[in-house]
């Protein structure tokens, strides 16, 4: 496991809170008398040490949940991730990863709405997906996008200057979308059918 500053911070805050909670618990068992100092220490442990620890752990875990490995940990997404990481796959997603156009968090980078609350929405949707994967038997046919893939998500990286260099783009109709032509997104069984 990679040891980084974030992990160290989360570990230290959580360990401190845990130590405080256990120490208070032992104190109760040893002497069943409540001086004001004891009550203040207990309250401090719960009100001032626990919230930072909880938020630090949650934010650290939310950050880690963006990783492609985390998406692959659900059985339902195995096909998609295998395609993206495949050395010989010819899908658009695999090419993006293989040519290092996307260096990390491959799933998250393409499947997040780049709007004001996009990252927040993505996290809520991710929670729902995680609940569904853990509590229900999700069938492969049920996995689909909420709405057709939007051009603005492509244009986050493919800027206007490079976009206009391609002749077909200039001649394209206004209502045409990126995926109308670039339709080989993922090479998985269900999409192929």
């Amino acid at each position: 496991m990679k040891l980084d500053i974030q992990l160290l911070f989360v570990f230290l805050v959580t360990a401190l809170a845990l130590l405080g909670a256990v120490a208070s618990f032992v104190l109760i068992l040893l002497r069943r008398r409540y001086g004001r100092t004891f009550v203040v220490v207990s309250l401090g442990c719960i009100f001032f040490v626990w919230p930072p620890s909880f938020f630090a752990t949650s934010i650290y875990n939310l950050e880690r949940s963006k990783s492609t490995q985390f998406c692959a940990s659900c059985h339902d997404m195995e096909q998609h991730v295998e395609d993206v990481m495949g050395a010989t796959s010819k899908s658009l997603a695999a090419k993006h990863v293989r040519r290092t156009w996307i260096n990390k968090n491959a799933c998250y980078t393409c499947h997040t709405d780049y709007t004001m609350f996009g990252p927040l929405n993505a996290k809520f949707k991710g929670m729902r997906h995680m609940m569904a994967a853990l509590l229900h038997d999700v069938k492969e046919e049920e996995i689909d996008l909420y709405h057709p893939y939007q051009d603005r998500d492509c244009l986050q990286c493919h800027d206007q200057a490079r976009f206009d260099r391609v002749e077909e783009h200039i001649d394209a109709d206004a209502d045409e979308r990126c995926i109308d032509c670039h339709d080989n997104m993922h090479k998985v069984r269900r999409i192929d059918e």
Binding site: M1, L7, V10, F11, T14, A15, A17, L18, A21, V22, S24, F25, I28, R32, Y34, V39, S42, L43, C45, I46, F47, W50, P51, S53, F54, T57, S58, Y60, N61, R64, S65, F70, S73, C74, M127, M130, M131, A133, L134
Partner: protein, 65 residues
């Protein structure tokens, strides 16, 4: 009072322990457990602590004289 403090500290300890587990063994299960037990455990502890504060004996005003 003992019951309130024990419940509060046990729920906090459980929430923090699951947090530590999720940091070192990260999976959808531990992540979900960290969030749910963290929120529920924290809420229980907060309620217990508020009840505890309400039940603390008031300081006698004659003490300071």
């Amino acid at each position: 009072m003992t019951v309130l403090i024990v419940i509060a500290l046990m729920s906090i300890t459980l929430a923090l322990a699951v947090g530590v587990l999720s940091v070192f063994y990260f999976s959808p299960w531990t992540f979900l457990a960290q969030l749910t037990i963290g929120i529920v455990g924290g809420a229980i502890a907060m309620v217990c602590m508020v009840l505890l504060i309400m039940r603390l004996p008031k300081r006698d005003s004659t003490d300071s004289q």
